[in-house]
């Protein structure tokens, strides 16, 4: 794997393989020394041109666990706020010898541009580009679901016929998009639920079912309910009348949560708006995977950095028996 730009087009075997590598990374958490020497001498740049705390520190923790050097580069306080272009920033990073660039950018497609530009010869990992994709979030979600379902026996498994409902602002959600492609590639059945104003145009062409009402979606008894964040920063039009109405119609409140079967997983990519899309009781319950998602995020990002950086450049990954 040279770059990780999107989950669209990833094959099932490829994803299962990546999740298996992440299982190995998760084992490192339980050891006496929680660090691997694998990426010693490699440099990972976290280029975050849009605000983010958890994704950045997750990538930072992942790179450090693999002994890579980490340079954090945020828009605020950098030359980017003086109007430096992505091209100039990339060339500066290339001159510093960056081996991988983890890019968060407000424009959809920015990671793709960086990877194909020739401005920099580094592995590019998309950490969220506009409303396009956030592949590592989808990978950690799939990893979390697989671990909850299969525990220590998870290696080698996909998500065949697991029912997953993704609820909320699908229109602006790169998490939802990455999850649709990834989860369906793994064999899961995905159902999107949102007010009509927050479903993207063209959703009919996606490999999903859609519901306009949360109660209809929950009536299908999904194995997983993934609540999306209402992104106040992107609420630039009247998508729904009031926050209270949204919470009443599309929020996972105490009453709806109480009616879910006990085994149903409740997921949220964070940060949560408690009382809006998810009630505090649902968020803090045993059904909630929110904290597992954070912990698993580090394992997934370690796996992605390992696969992008450890091998000899430009050669296809070896899936042969050695180490299999």
């Amino acid at each position: 794997m040279r770059h990780l730009l999107s989950t669209r087009g990833l094959a099932r075997d490829e994803v299962v393989d990546l999740l298996d590598v992440a299982e190995g990374m998760a084992d490192v958490e339980r050891r006496e020394v929680r660090k691997l020497p694998t990426l010693r001498g490699r440099t990972v740049v976290n280029l975050f041109l849009e605000d983010s705390t958890r994704t950045r520190i997750s990538f930072e923790a992942a790179a450090k666990r693999l002994s890579a050097d980490v340079i954090n580069f945020a828009a605020k306080g950098s030359s980017v706020s003086k109007g430096e272009s992505l091209k100039d920033t990339a060339q500066t990073l290339a001159a510093m010898g960056a081996d991988a660039v983890v890019l968060r950018h407000p424009a959809s497609g920015a990671a793709q541009v960086l990877a194909q530009s020739g401005w920099i010869d580094a592995a590019v990992v998309n950490a969220g580009d506009g409303t396009h994709e956030h592949p590592t979030q989808a990978l950690l979600d799939a990893f979390t679901i697989r671990r909850r379902l299969h525990g220590a026996d998870a290696r080698g498994r996909d998500l065949d016929s697991v029912e997953i409902a993704i609820v909320g602002d699908v229109l602006h959600s790169r998490v939802a998009r990455s999850n649709v492609w990834l989860l369906t590639a793994l064999g899961a059945r995905v159902r999107l639920c949102a007010p009509a104003t927050l479903l993207p145009i063209g959703v009919g062409g996606w490999p999903v079912e859609t519901d306009l009402h949360l109660d209809d979606a929950l009536a299908h008894r999904p194995d997983v309910v993934m609540m999306l964040r209402i992104q106040a920063e992107r609420m630039d039009a009247a998508y729904f009348p009031t926050a209270r109405e949204y919470a009443r119609e599309w929020g996972l409140d105490d009453a709806r949560f109480g009616r879910l079967p006990e085994a149903t997983m409740v997921m949220h990519p964070g940060p949560m708006n408690r009382g809006l899309e998810i009630s505090a009781r649902a968020a803090d319950s045993a059904a909630s995977t929110v904290l597992e998602q954070v912990a698993n995020g580090v394992s997934i990002r370690m796996a992605v950095l390992y696969l992008a950086l450890a091998g000899e450049h430009g050669r296809a990954p070896e899936v042969a028996e050695v180490g299999a």
């Binding site: 794997m1 006496e32 091998g311 990954p317 028996e321 180490g323 299999a324």
Partner: protein, 197 residues
């Protein structure tokens, strides 16, 4: 040209002898942990653990220790897929750990295994058991228990087959002059040590 060096009975005899030698050097089964290096080392560790348990009457545990993340040639090879590491309950602290692999060659795999092991804890003693020692060491490493010393030319490849992976037990030596190229043989045979150098 392919020549068989160890038949199934030879492999079993070698493992039986190694099991006795391990018990002898450790003065019993107390505190023994066998850790195999994936893939075939783990199978061998399991067989050794059976023998040692039977001879000593004590239950001796075995596990696997993946060394992928500790290799010194990661940047020179296509990306390797790490295998699971499974440390038996009780860990390795203060134990006598016997590392088990199929072929000892350059010694680089064992070097990586030693690094991987100290990140798991602090064993009191670490020993090395291998089914075949083919020579050509590149590091100051030697095995404590050897099934068969097999002086070989660098152009030859040693292939260890075990029932669990290959349907049959056996060790063959193959000169690269024969039809299959050295890389082809190494990729599906001889284990990581054979391909390392």
């Amino acid at each position: 040209m392919i020549r068989t060096v160890l038949e199934p009975a030879d492999i079993d005899r070698a493992l039986t002898r190694i099991a006795h030698e391990i018990l002898e050097s450790n003065r019993g089964a107390e505190g023994l942990v066998l850790l195999g290096i994936p893939t075939r080392g783990v199978t061998l560790a399991g067989r050794l653990a059976d023998h040692v348990s039977r001879f000593s009457g004590a239950h001796v545990t075995f596990g696997s220790l993946d060394v992928t993340m500790y290799r010194d040639d990661l940047a020179r090879q296509p990306t390797r897929r790490p295998a699971p590491t499974r440390i038996p309950d009780g860990g390795v602290d203060g134990r006598c750990v016997v590392l088990v692999d199929d072929v000892l060659f350059s010694g680089r795999t064992v070097r990586a295994a030693l690094d991987a092991l100290v990140d798991q804890g602090r064993p009191s003693v670490v020993r090395l058991a291998v089914l075949v020692d083919r020579g050509h060491r590149e590091l100051p490493i030697r095995a404590d228990f050897v099934g068969k010393n097999l002086p070989s030319a660098l152009s030859e490849s040693i292939r260890v087959r075990l029932v669990d992976h290959d349907g049959v037990d056996g060790v063959t030596i193959e000169s690269s002059a024969s039809g299959t190229g050295p890389t082809g043989t190494a990729a599906d045979g001889a284990g990581a040590e054979g391909t390392g150098a």
